[in-house]
């Protein structure tokens, strides 16, 4: 990174006026000046994949950053949410054995935060509380994607991608959801990564000529989703939907008549779920003009 002292001085003046970290970057990605701290720059460069893995490792060492005890990366998406507020809320919400180490804002506007937490469940619980606290305090919608656990600076880039993928999954499949961990994506990850050229063929092979007959029928689709969420347990599904078990069986029979899949069988249920998620993904992409 080439830095111009005069440019940096001017940037700092702007930073004081705007309260934002700023950088000046050429078209080919070279940073001329920046007000980001060294750690923030390190995280930002990892996110933008503008340095090699070896350089990342060397810079981490120079900054005395040791991730061997395990870290998580959070991607926080919220409108008009100051980075400083996220840091304050994180510091306030975390228990003694946890720490929000440092954060930066990515090129797409998400705030990336490194979280030092002992385990997956502890990380997810902490993030859930953080999301709730931020929404309560900032009164703005907040979504947080959580990477899988990483233990080295070289993994940081992958962690950023995972956290952003979790955010994409929220947007595509569960817009009501507040937080989502990459490790929980399951079939939705397969749907997100499913090649577009094969998607239509897969949909029709699994669900027949008119997949919309089930996928766009709200009652049938909700019934199918509830059955899958309840591990194919009919009694629990009926209870959750507040319908009689006979009504549930009638609806499952109808789904089978329409698309040929018996959702009481695991293989059919799994194929159906992947097809349904591909359908949702395509709808979301069409809605956004892709």
């Amino acid at each position: 990174m080439r830095e111009d002292a005069e440019l940096e001085r001017l940037l700092r003046q702007l930073q004081r006026k705007t309260g934002q970290n700023l950088l000046i970057q050429t078209e080919d990605g070279q940073v001329l000046a920046s007000t980001f701290s060294a750690k923030e720059s390190f995280l930002r460069d990892a996110a933008e994949e503008s340095v090699s893995m070896q350089e990342l490792a060397e810079r981490a060492k120079a900054l005395s950053l040791d991730f061997t005890s395990g870290r998580y990366l959070l991607a926080v998406r919220a409108k008009d949410l100051a980075k400083g507020l996220i840091e304050e809320a994180a510091a306030a919400i975390l228990e003694d054995d946890m720490e929000a180490e440092f954060c930066t804002r990515s090129a797409c506007g998400d705030v990336l935060l490194i979280l030092a937490v002992s385990s997956d469940p502890a990380a997810e619980e902490s993030v859930r509380l953080l999301q709730s606290a931020l929404e309560t305090e900032a009164m703005t919608r907040v979504r947080i994607g959580i990477s899988s656990r990483f233990t080295a600076a070289e993994h940081l880039r992958r962690a950023v991608r995972e956290a952003e993928t979790a955010l994409l999954a929220i947007h595509t499949f569960s817009p009501i959801c507040g937080t989502l961990a990459y490790r929980s994506l399951g079939i939705s990850l397969a749907a997100l990564q499913f090649p577009e050229e094969g998607a239509a063929a897969y949909l029709y092979s699994v669900l027949g000529d008119t997949p919309e007959a089930v996928l766009e029928d709200e009652e049938l689709f909700r019934t199918a989703q509830a059955l899958l969420e309840n591990g194919l347990n009919s009694a629990e599904t009926a209870r959750q939907l507040y319908i009689h078990r006979n009504t549930l069986l009638y609806r499952l029979d109808k789904i089978q008549r329409l698309c040929g899949r018996d959702l009481r069988r695991f293989e059919d249920a799994a194929a159906f779920q992947l097809a349904a998620m591909i359908w949702k993904k395509r709808k979301a992409e069409n809605y956004n003009g892709k």
Partner: protein, 369 residues
């Protein structure tokens, strides 16, 4: 004044999912109104649209006389209490309640005044120096509400605030919230999936399913006059017994037949069913467990009110007994006196109080009566 008006509110996400459809509701100033429904019915989404945490796809939201669709959440004079309320573990109760105000750069003396006022209302002034780990579940819940109260909002939005508490504490906190409503004198909109909580807390309840309002009514009317099959099955525990019946006319009487049984429909209901052209058709009949009696408890009941049954499960709950029996594929539950001698395997006749029976159109599931 902080009444609300929701007019033709829709919420559609980018993936095409319609979470809320044509939601219309007028909420009076100072009213305590409940949104209830199963998970995913749109109740929390509606609450979040009122708060401004979700954008309204179409429709108008008024708070008082002001249209607030485009008003920032922080400017709507609203405070929320979430299910996963987070108390900051390192801070005292005082600092927990003051945190949000500090972030908004409120002057220190004003913060102090607001925190003490809220603590007094909640009766937690003696806890201000404690940290959350030194508090009971109920006390923590009160602190969570205190964080909302210090904002002096016109409207409180509560999204399943008691669902993380155990059953006993939930009952206690319901009473506290009820008292709080009276003390604060503000509008409260409360979301829950628990129909018992809704029935005990609210003066008016909005029942939702799949993003659509099913019925808005008092708890008593929801119980006695459900608008459709969903409301009938959702409200009341144990659930209302539901069975498809064929309506036939014999002489002067209308009969409901199912699984080899025939029961006479009460005259008032029969008149309406006949007038609406349901004679000879199949409809769905509902009857609540407490409206099914042992034959011995209704000695004057006519034979055409009775159905034979064999008890599958006997369940004693102390003050009442639930008897579960099947008639072909239809499952029934009866709530009877605890002094019953009936047990699992007993064979007896039950009397259906057909004056309390509900009838629903089989296709539309709407109440016929």
């Amino acid at each position: 004044m902080a009444g609300l008006s929701l007019q033709h509110i829709f919420k559609k996400y980018d993936n095409g999912f319609e979470a809320v459809k044509d939601f219309n509701l007028e909420i009076e100033d100072k009213e305590f109104i409940i949104f209830v429904g199963p998970s995913g019915c749109g109740k929390s989404t509606t609450l979040r649209m009122i708060a401004g945490l979700e954008e309204i796809t179409s429709g108008d939201l008024y708070i008082g006389d002001e249209r607030v669709n485009d008003v920032e959440p922080k400017n709507r004079d609203i405070a929320m209490v979430f299910q996963s309320y987070a108390l900051y573990p390192h801070m005292t109760v005082y600092d927990n309640m003051a945190f949000g105000l500090k972030l908004r750069k409120i002057p220190k003396d004003e913060i102090d005044k607001k925190v003490h006022e809220a603590a007094k209302i909640l009766d937690i002034e003696h806890l201000l120096d404690r940290k959350p780990r030194a508090l009971s579940g109920g006390q923590r819940q009160r602190v969570a509400m205190g964080r909302a109260i210090v904002r002096n909002p016109k409207i409180f939005l509560m999204d399943e605030p008691l669902s993380n508490l155990d059953a006993k504490l939930r009952v206690q906190m319901r009473i506290e919230i009820s008292k709080l409503h009276q003390r604060l004198g503000t509008t409260i909109i409360y979301v829950t999936h628990d129909q018992t909580e809704a029935m005990t807390l609210g003066t008016r309840i909005v029942v939702m399913k799949d993003g659509v309002v099913q019925q808005v009514d008092t708890p008593q009317n929801l119980y006695n006059k459900p608008a459709n099959l969903f409301v009938a099955g959702f409200i009341g525990s144990p659930q209302m017994n539901i069975v498809d019946v064929n309506l036939t006319k014999e002489g002067e009487n209308l009969y409901a037949s199912f699984a080899g049984n025939k029961v006479a429909v009460a005259s008032d209901a029969a008149k309406v069913l006949e007038e609406k052209g349901y004679t000879g058709k199949t409809v769905t009949m509902g009857i609540r467990p407490e409206d099914i009696y042992e034959e011995k408890d209704m000695p004057d009941a006519a034979e055409d009110q009775k159905i034979p049954a064999e008890i599958r499960v006997y369940e004693l709950l102390g003050a009442e007994v639930f008897l579960y029996f099947d008639i072909e594929k239809a499952n029934f539950t009866a709530r009877v006196n605890p002094d019953t001698s009936v047990r699992t395997g007993s064979k007896l006749k039950f009397v259906l109080d057909m004056k309390k029976a509900h009838f629903f159109d089989k296709e539309t599931e709407v109440s016929i009566l």
